[in-house]
């Protein structure tokens, strides 16, 4: 059945970037159709009631890098974007703890309890990283130029960036070079001495990446996490009221407000390519939709190795996409709880439960967790980034009950023998056992446990190999190289076929940025 309705653009995938691109295109007056495979919008930024009365941000769980101009231009606050501050980071230890809060004096005192040197350094470190973040920010906001055959606008953009880099101080340049080359552990060793502090800070260098804190390159990933800003304050994490799915819904409502059509349970089988041009899509149910252009919000592997035929693509490009590193390294465990976890080192309720809880007592803990994964096993004692959404937003769970979101690393996609039910449960057990080391009551209060392995993340969310960022955020896969050189400006070798997922510049996280910049690029070419 040839297209019932003619669209200007079809977006494959109702994830937050696909929806963002759709909203921008609709806002510019284009007729847009978004096709989502699942019954629910949001992709990895989705809230689902997995256990009756308990709402989970099933996959993505925090928001930090959402671009302020995207919020404003798409009027997201009007459509339900409500970001609550996640104000502390709590690292439980065997007989002690480290608690960093939004209050500088309190945090100083707390770190000084362990190391006066670190407490004072910490006060310098934040602003220094903020400045580096600012220095790098223009890169994130520039559409990556085609470095092989640059157009005039590519040259202009490159020149602008070069001029920007000339304004950096030598100190900024030094830090930047170090961040781009060193491991997060080595980089932090130059600043701090208290191991749990260093380990907790280095953890943001390994999230979503198949590397350990001692792997070179991890420092850059850490910087990527430092660039988030909320309300102009760098390094501020937020929790969306109603879970991350509510971010996606806000973008979807904005897109609909501007006139986009959105269809769920509409899995796309193939992009229809005629004479080297994308002309529409075919759904799995046989329906076809025509459009002037097609935009994929999927990861590069799916966009180019599944949605189109290899024969429609240049072979060097196919090789690049095949080499694109997208190794899943993490799992997600969501718990429905009858009460709050009670930490041995800091019993009772308090501020420490209102922010991130980081299971990162030492570099060795993280590196050993990585060692397990290197050889094809999940970590026996994983690194975890935990939050308790119901403490911030009571509507996430029934009165008095709680939900706990555990981001768990490492869980390799290619586990020895492959993932199965037994391994999934064993992985869940390892997670609960590790939490129980610090909060023994956890075992008694679990009402329901949802364990998502990288294989589950792939099956449920279409994240190839379960990689949460649509491809690792390592230097060789960023900016003009994301996902492949020459094709980092949201265009593809197929005419009228574009890409806008996290596998494009500037990468993963709930930022809206790839979607926004892809839409702006497309509108510029239109």
């Amino acid at each position: 059945m040839p297209g019932v309705k003619k669209y200007d653009a079809i977006v494959i995938g109702g994830g937050h970037n696909g929806l963002t691109a759709a909203a921008y295109l609709s806002r510019a007056g284009k007729k847009v159709l978004v096709l989502e495979r699942r019954y629910i919008l949001g992709g990895a930024a989705v809230t689902e009631e997995i256990f009756p009365g308990f709402k989970f941000s099933v996959c993505s769980y925090v928001v930090s890098l959402m671009k302020p101009n995207v919020m404003r231009e798409l009027m997201l606050p009007k459509f339900g974007l409500e970001l609550l501050p996640l104000e502390s980071t709590f690292t439980p230890l065997e007989n002690d703890y480290l608690l960093r809060t939004a209050d500088a004096d309190q945090t100083y005192r707390e770190i000084a309890r362990h190391s006066t040197k670190d407490a004072e350094t910490y006060m310098r470190f934040g602003p220094a990283m903020g400045q580096i973040g600012m220095a790098v920010r223009p890169i994130l906001e520039t559409i990556a130029p085609n470095v092989i055959r640059p157009s005039l606008s590519d040259l202009a953009a490159t020149k602008k960036l070069l001029n920007h880099f000339k304004t950096l101080s030598s100190e900024q340049f030094e830090y930047l070079t170090k961040l781009m080359t060193m491991s997060s552990a080595d980089f932090l060793d130059e600043w701090f001495e208290f191991e749990p502090l260093k380990a907790s800070m280095s953890a943001s260098g390994i999230i979503g990446t198949f590397m350990g804190p001692r792997s070179p390159g991890s420092a850059y990933v850490m910087l990527h996490h430092y660039m988030g800003d909320i309300d102009g304050a760098f390094r501020a994490w937020g929790f969306q009221r109603g879970g991350t799915g509510a971010v996606s819904m806000a973008i979807a409502r904005s897109a609909e407000h501007f006139g986009a059509d959105i269809m769920t349970e509409a899995p796309v089988e193939k992009v229809i390519v005629k004479n080297g041009r994308a002309v529409g899509v075919a759904l799995e149910n046989g329906n076809e939709y025509n459009s002037d252009i097609v935009i994929s919000g999927l990861d590069p592997k799916l966009s180019f190795l599944k949605m189109v035929d290899e024969s429609d693509l240049p072979s060097d490009f196919v090789t690049d996409i095949k080499n694109f590193r997208i190794r899943g390294s993490s799992g997600k465990v969501n718990l429905a709880l009858d009460g709050l976890p009670n930490f041995t080192c800091l019993p009772g309720e308090g501020h420490h439960l209102r922010g991130a809880i980081s299971i990162s007592p030492s570099y060795d803990h993280l590196e050993k967790a990585y060692d397990d994964a290197k050889y094809g096993n999940f970590s026996q004692e994983p690194y975890m980034d935990i939050i308790l959404p119901s403490v911030l937003d009571p509507e996430m769970a029934p009165p008095g009950k709680h939900v706990m979101s555990c981001f768990v690393q490492y869980a390799p996609y290619n586990i020895n023998g492959g993932w199965n039910d037994q391994k999934r449960e064993a992985f869940g057990d390892a997670v609960v056992n590790t939490i129980a080391r610090f909060a023994p009551n956890i075992r008694d209060i679990i009402l329901h446990r949802q364990v998502l392995t990288p294989a589950d993340l792939e099956a449920t969310f279409g994240l190839t190999e379960g990689n949460i960022f649509h491809g690792e955020l390592t230097l060789q896969q960023l900016f003009a190289m994301r996902p492949a050189v020459k094709w980092a400006d949201y265009t593809t070798p197929i005419k009228n076929y574009y890409q806008c997922g996290s596998g494009t510049h500037p990468g993963g996280g709930i930022t809206g940025s790839p979607g926004e910049m892809a839409a702006k690029k497309i509108l510029g070419l239109w």
């Binding site: 404003r72 606050p77 970001l83 209050d103 309190q106 309300d231 009165p399 008095g400």
Partner: protein, 409 residues
Amino acid sequence: MSYENQFTANTQLKLSPFFERTSKLNESQEWRRWSGYLSATNYELHHDNEYFAIRTKAALLDITPLKKYIIEGADAQIFLDRLVTRNIGICKVGQVMYTPWCDEFGKMIDDGTIQRLSETKFRITSAEPNFDWIKHNATGMDVTITDDSFTTAALALQGPNSRAILNAVSSDSLNSLKFFWMMDTTFGDIPVSISRTGYTGDLGYEIWMDPKDALTVWDLLLEKGKSFGITPTGLHALDIARIEAGLILLDVDYISSRHAIIESRKSSPYELGLGWAVKMKKKDFIGKQALEAEVARGPEWDFVGIEIQWHELEKHFRKAGLAPGLPGTAWRTSTPLYKGNQQVGYATSGTWSPILKRYIALAHVKSEYAGEGSELMFELKVEHYRKLTPAKVVKTPFFDPERKRSCPV
């Protein structure tokens, strides 16, 4: 050895009947003065969580310092109709009206709410003491005026979960209580009045009670409210919320004509964006003639919401090598607004709106530049240097959720 306070003069700050609880909860021990009371600035070290309680959960505020007067008697309605600009004749029993009141020259003295408690009994709230003014104007009328400020304690429960909490505590459902209406009910055996009013522009209620019941009511609310995220909240958070709601504050956004000293400091309701609250069809009220004349010649000033444009603001800071410097709390410093080289107004309070992600302010602007969309320049200090950055006149309330007025179906 215990310290004994020898200071016995009657000028010490008053302690609210809730102080026994609030003082223990106030982690930051930051207090402000409010009408001679000690009032919590923020309970936690930062007001973030309290602000978000207003917008996403439920915030509990001690509003006892409000001035409250009971007007009772056969002439009570006629008297109030003469005193204020709204039409009190149509205010039904159980209804609440927000209203300004003026002097004979149509300049605003104060603003507050009037609750109609019965056919012949009203409660009026105000920011400043108004007893003398009210009494002075009641001469010859059959009304008695009582200062209720110390005889009624009050709490505000504001935020999307406020109704659910009250339903859990109160013996009557709040579901059908409409915006700006009130009801009498009980918490256990404690009689309270609940009005669906507030200073946040969100779903919210104010609870009026006998001071002797204050602590029991506080404890009940905190206990039942826990699983709904009830959060004791201070004035820092409230100030952000009331700016987002576009609500004015006496002595910040305007000065009472009773102590304005110079003429230019006084404002009419029209000049404060309250023209809607002046009912010219009423037979007579204090200031009517002057206001009629003002309408005829057109008010010189308007009071509007402005949004400081982000892109240019960010640029100013980036030029200085800084991330955009946003105010952490609401500010109250008069800030000039320009059109070309000419100053055409001044903003009196402003804040970064964490929920809207916009930098907003309330401003007095010369009428001809006050239309929606009007582009002005806002004075900004970046690293000690004055800059001008664009600001646009926008509609208020900046934040106006549907839940503010709606009832559950």
